[in-house]
């Protein structure tokens, strides 16, 4: 932990707020505008209306939560089928200069589910499995679309919170279009341009062959990488063009590219919190929510970085020099890159697991027991610490409702949130949304551990193998996508993963939409002296406490079987 490293971390936090806040303000304007661009940029609304005509929707007609959810589901299922199909027949299609074979069925199914659910779990290595067509027109499109779907649903739920006595939440096609075109596309173009400048390939040429100085032949994979990496970082997707993701120099060549990619992980999720504050006219509340997330984020870095700097048991015992300074960053450099060092890998590891991004710039399987426990726990909290774009904040709404409910119980009043009475129905949706995925994760991990087919995926034997398994279902169930990457592909693990990702995406999403629908119908109750304030330090403590006591306690027993036991070993 050098002073230089700490300075970089502080700068990262400052940049996140400095850019996330204006982005949030901008997004609120985009979603609340009747037409984007106003009179001066009239062509924007002309193009937008053209899209609505093409998809045969009346943009002024709003949908109730069931109709909104149904449209999301139909849209996602059809895209799922297309993505599956492209992979299966990619060998017969164009843009396949390196002659990739068709992708096997279980793997295609898992990958299609992975990308439509914004998970981007990868049981394959991109540079030797997928054709450029699949990467560009299949997977990268889903990086845009799955992100936009998440944000659209969030915007709908926020409308439900903001409105009174209303039956509708908005029009899915409008929210989808505006997210894709006004938010994701401009940001992706900027980030992709920076990455290209820094050295990320963007070409349709096939693999290059080099004749090395010692006379060997080296294959160098390249392709339309930058355009995909930009949106993979921004949309909390995380699916790499290459197997080792953003650890590969071609995905992440420099300290600057690393900073930009790392900032992109949390930028939109942070912006969405501020957007929420504007849309519900409760900016102080939004700051409190942001503070809660930020505290847990810092906590993650504060555990991961010292653990990694201290080094793994094996490296400490080996006698090699792991001390920071004198021309090295030291510590646990296993499966890490020199140009990032420890501080930048720690921030990335924490951010990517807080934000349901799942991209990595170093290997998680090789992290120290307590270092690796940070992403494991972050995922298990339900990806609500910033979380996936859209899904993170609507996931946080479940916990906010549980928090005001607990506060209400303590003072003996009907709980309220932003002027809405929270009653039995809302609590049920919130409980379903908050508890379904962690329960499912534990069940799937247990089944995997208890069966021969499940055990076949384990790479590191012993305690660490248990952690690998738990992490796999934790990651897929919570739609993160990062991995203790030794965990291997079998038909069993592919199909179990598919189930985890689909249920993990759509059950909380429908719980959130139902919650939004229920809140939209309610009247506003004027705040009184007895109303529990949701904008101060007390609320931050309560919210973080509720998260720790629900998901945190659920993971604890499993944590003792995995990382904690391993951490105590010599």
């Amino acid at each position: 932990m050098s002073a230089q490293g700490i300075t970089q971390i502080v700068f990262y936090c400052v940049a996140l707020i400095a850019l996330g806040y204006p982005l949030g303000v901008f997004m609120a304007r985009v979603y609340m505008a009747d037409r984007v661009g106003g009179r001066r940029l009239r062509f924007l609304s002309s193009i937008e209306n053209g899209f609505y005509r093409a998809v045969r929707t009346d943009a002024t007609k709003e949908q109730d939560w069931k109709s909104y959810g149904t449209t999301v589901l139909v849209f996602s299922v059809l895209f799922f089928l297309l993505l599956y199909l492209i992979q299966r027949v990619q060998n017969h299609l164009f843009l396949n200069p390196d002659h990739m074979a068709g992708v096997p069925s279980h793997l295609s199914l898992n990958t299609a589910a992975s990308f439509i659910t914004n998970t981007n779990w990868q049981y394959y290595g991109g540079e030797y499995t997928m054709s450029y067509l699949t990467q560009m027109a299949g997977l990268a499109v889903q990086n845009f679309v799955s992100a936009a779907v998440g944000i659209a649903v969030l915007v709908a739920v926020i409308r439900g919170i903001a409105r009174r006595s209303s039956g509708t939440l908005g029009n899915f096609w409008v929210d989808l279009y505006r997210t894709l075109v006004y938010i994701l596309l401009p940001l992706a173009v900027i980030v992709a341009a920076i990455l290209i400048w820094q050295g990320v390939p963007q070409t349709l040429h096939g693999h290059a062959t080099a004749h090395t100085l010692q006379g060997a032949t080296q294959t160098i994979a390249r392709g339309p990488v930058a355009s995909q990496i930009a949106i993979k970082q921004l949309g909390t997707n995380g699916g790499g063009f290459y197997n080792s993701n953003s650890g590969v120099p071609f995905e992440n060549p420099t300290g600057l590219s690393n900073f930009v990619e790392m900032l992109s992980i949390l930028l939109i999720p942070a912006g969405l919190v501020f957007m929420f504050g504007r849309m519900v006219l409760a900016r102080r509340h939004a700051w409190a929510v942001f503070a809660s997330m930020f505290v847990v984020f810092l906590l993650g870095v504060a555990v991961n970085l010292p653990s990694e700097q201290h080094g793994s048991q094996v490296l400490r015992a080996s006698g090699v020099n792991i001390t920071q300074g004198h021309g090295q960053s030291g510590g646990n450099m296993s499966d890490k890159e020199v140009r990032f060092g420890l501080a930048n890998t720690a921030v990335w590891t924490t951010a990517t697991s807080d934000a349901s991004n799942g991209s990595v710039n170093g290997g998680f399987d090789a992290q120290t027991p307590f270092g690796g426990a940070v992403p494991l726990v972050n995922l298990f909290l339900g990806e609500v610490i910033f979380g996936g774009v859209g899904s993170g904040l609507y996931g946080m709404f479940f916990y906010i409702i549980l928090a005001v409910f607990v506060a209400g119980l303590m003072v003996g009043r009907t709980p309220e949130w932003l002027g809405k009475k929270i009653e039995a129905r809302e609590i049920k949706y919130a409980a379903l949304g908050a508890l379904f995925v962690p329960t499912m994760v534990l069940v799937l991990a247990a089944l995997s551990i208890a069966t021969k087919s499940g055990l076949a995926s384990i790479f590191n034997s012993g305690v660490h193998g248990f952690t690998e398994t738990l992490y796999a279902y934790d990651s897929q169930g919570n739609n993160n996508g990062s991995a203790f990457a030794g965990f291997g592909l079998t038909n069993f693990s592919a199909d179990f993963g598919t189930i985890a990702m689909l249920l993990g995406r759509f059950v909380p999403m429908f719980a959130a939409l139902a919650l939004g629908g229920a809140l939209a119908k309610k009247k506003i109750v004027p705040a009184s002296a007895g109303t529990f304030r949701t904008d101060g330090a007390t609320f931050v403590v309560l919210l973080v406490g509720v998260i720790a006591l629900t998901a945190g306690l659920m993971i604890f027993p499993a944590l003792t079987l995995g990382p904690i036991v391993e951490g105590l070993m010599h």
Binding site: T7, V55, T71, F75, L78, G125, E127, Y128, M136, A137, V141, V145, L180, V189, I196, Q198, G199, P201, Q202, T203, A208, T212, L213, Q214, Q218, T219, A221, P224, Q228, Y242, N243, G247, V248, P249, F250, T254, G255, L256, S257, N258, G311, S312, L315, S318, G319, V320, N321, H326, G327, Q328, G330, D335, E337, V360, A366, P369, N460, H464, A485, G486
Partner: protein, 196 residues
């Protein structure tokens, strides 16, 4: 039914725009503005591609600086990157680290009297994330410098100067950590001549 029709149209429009329009426009931009980077930062020598600035390649000769260990198959395969994925208590990791350290002691020992395992920087015995980490830490380069200077009959100062020239500092002096690009350093050494 209405949803299905709308969705199919939307999928076609979105795939056309985001799946082809966006990446192809970015490709056009890249090929015009940053041709070298866009095609993989390849390095040519006498008209032949000898590698990429962004990928380590195997160096075993005593006259060369050596990159970090690699878990790819074969080593330094820039067409199939991978982590080693060995856990922090895995005995195989312990064996790999020990083997790598022993090899370094044997290789560098004769040029560095009194060299012990405690002098070996950790990045020299650990695999990287990609398996093609193009850089080694400055500490690792310093450890190898005496051997390279001796084998090539160069002064240590000359080699140290080359190391300095091929050290990629933090971006803008701030982001990331410094590293020494092994391929570029070795190319610079070859250019000097004096190989024995």
């Amino acid at each position: 039914m209405r949803n299905i029709v709308s969705s199919v149209i939307a999928i076609v429009v979105i795939t056309a725009f985001f799946g082809f329009g966006y990446p192809l426009v970015m490709t056009g931009f890249a090929q015009v503005a940053f041709k070298g980077q866009a095609n993989g930062s390849l390095i040519e020598k006498n008209g032949t591609v000898v590698g990429s600035k962004l990928a380590a390649q195997a160096f075993t000769g005593k006259q060369y600086f050596h990159p970090r260990p690699s878990a790819t198959s074969p080593a330094y395969n820039a067409g199939a990157t991978t982590f080693a994925n060995l856990g922090p208590t895995n005995p195989e990791l312990a064996k790999n680290v020990k083997d790598a350290a022993d090899a370094i002691l044997k290789l560098e020992g004769p040029y560095n009297p009194g060299l012990t395992i405690h002098d070996i920087p950790v990045d020299a015995v650990t695999t990287s994330a990609s398996g093609i980490d193009p850089d080694i830490s400055p500490a690792n380069a310093a450890l190898q410098s005496r051997r390279v200077a001796a084998v090539r009959g160069l002064s240590l100062a000359t080699v140290q100067k080359l190391i300095k020239e091929n050290t990629i500092g933090r971006s803008w002096g701030f982001f990331g950590e410094p590293g020494v690009n092994v391929l570029e350093l070795n190319l610079a050494l070859d250019k000097l001549g004096g190989q024995h």
